[in-house]
């Protein structure tokens, strides 16, 4: 495997490249998750997003998720690429590809990976709303910065 399985990039992510990283003869299933930029969140309109990462640690944490998956679902292969920088509506922010001999593990491990990304990988999303901007503090939009609502630009 010459290509890195876990990457942070500022370029558009190519699905075929992720799939190619996990293809192997013993696989009978490959699942892919594509996370895209959503326009509307609870009635608020997003214009664009900015993602920032602590890049070397983010790559390490993605690899840690890969290790956790290997421990929970042996003989799976995982590849994850997360994009950072400026993303427009419908742009792809993250792709996760998992291969396994049988489909169940590939589905389960893929969902596990996105949940763990939202917990441990040092990547932050800044919502640029119609009426202001907010660094999002967690994925349920329960903790946001700085005051739980968009900062209105004067």
């Amino acid at each position: 495997m010459t290509e890195e399985l876990f990457q942070i990039t500022d370029k558009p992510i190519q699905l075929e490249q992720l799939v190619a990283k996990v293809e192997r003869p013993e696989a009978g299933a490959i699942t892919t998750f594509i996370g895209t930029v959503r326009e509307w969140t609870k009635g608020k309109r997003t214009i664009y997003l900015e993602y920032q990462a602590y890049k070397p640690m983010a790559v390490k944490m993605l690899a840690t998720i890969g290790e956790e998956i290997e421990a929970k679902w042996p003989n799976t292969q995982v590849a994850i690429t997360h994009r950072i920088g400026h993303l427009e509506i419908s742009d792809i922010a993250v792709i996760i590809a998992v291969s396994s001999p049988h489909r169940k593990a590939a589905y389960q491990a893929n969902e596990y990976a996105i949940e763990r990304i939202k917990e441990i990988v040092p990547i932050w999303k800044k919502e640029n709303w119609e009426d202001g901007e907010t660094w999002i503090g967690d994925q349920l939009e329960q903790v946001s910065y700085p005051e739980g609502k968009p900062q209105i630009k004067e």
């Binding site: 602590y54 922010a93 040092p122 999303k125 503090g137 903790v143």
Partner: protein
């Protein structure tokens, strides 16, 4: 000397993503308190700390040459 990296909201509050501090033999907890006071950082109770790219605990010690990152709640994906 230690290097402190700040991200997201904290970077905007501090006006800088990278600080260099002359601090010796401090704990993560003490460092957070110092930074909160000197740079008026908010919501520090939710902030995790990594030392040299590994998550650290409040009582872990920060040594000369360490790279310390303040990690607010993450929102990737």
């Amino acid at each position: 000397m230690i290097t402190v990296l700040l991200f997201a909201q904290l970077q905007e509050e501090a006006g800088n993503g990278r600080l260099e501090l002359e601090l010796v033999d401090t704990t993560v907890k003490e460092l957070k308190e110092t930074l909160q006071r000197e740079y008026n950082l908010t919501k520090m109770d939710q902030v995790m700390v990594a030392i040299n790219e590994e998550y650290a605990l409040p009582d872990d010690r920060v040594k000369d040459g360490d790279i310390v990152a303040l990690i607010p709640p993450v929102s990737g994906g």
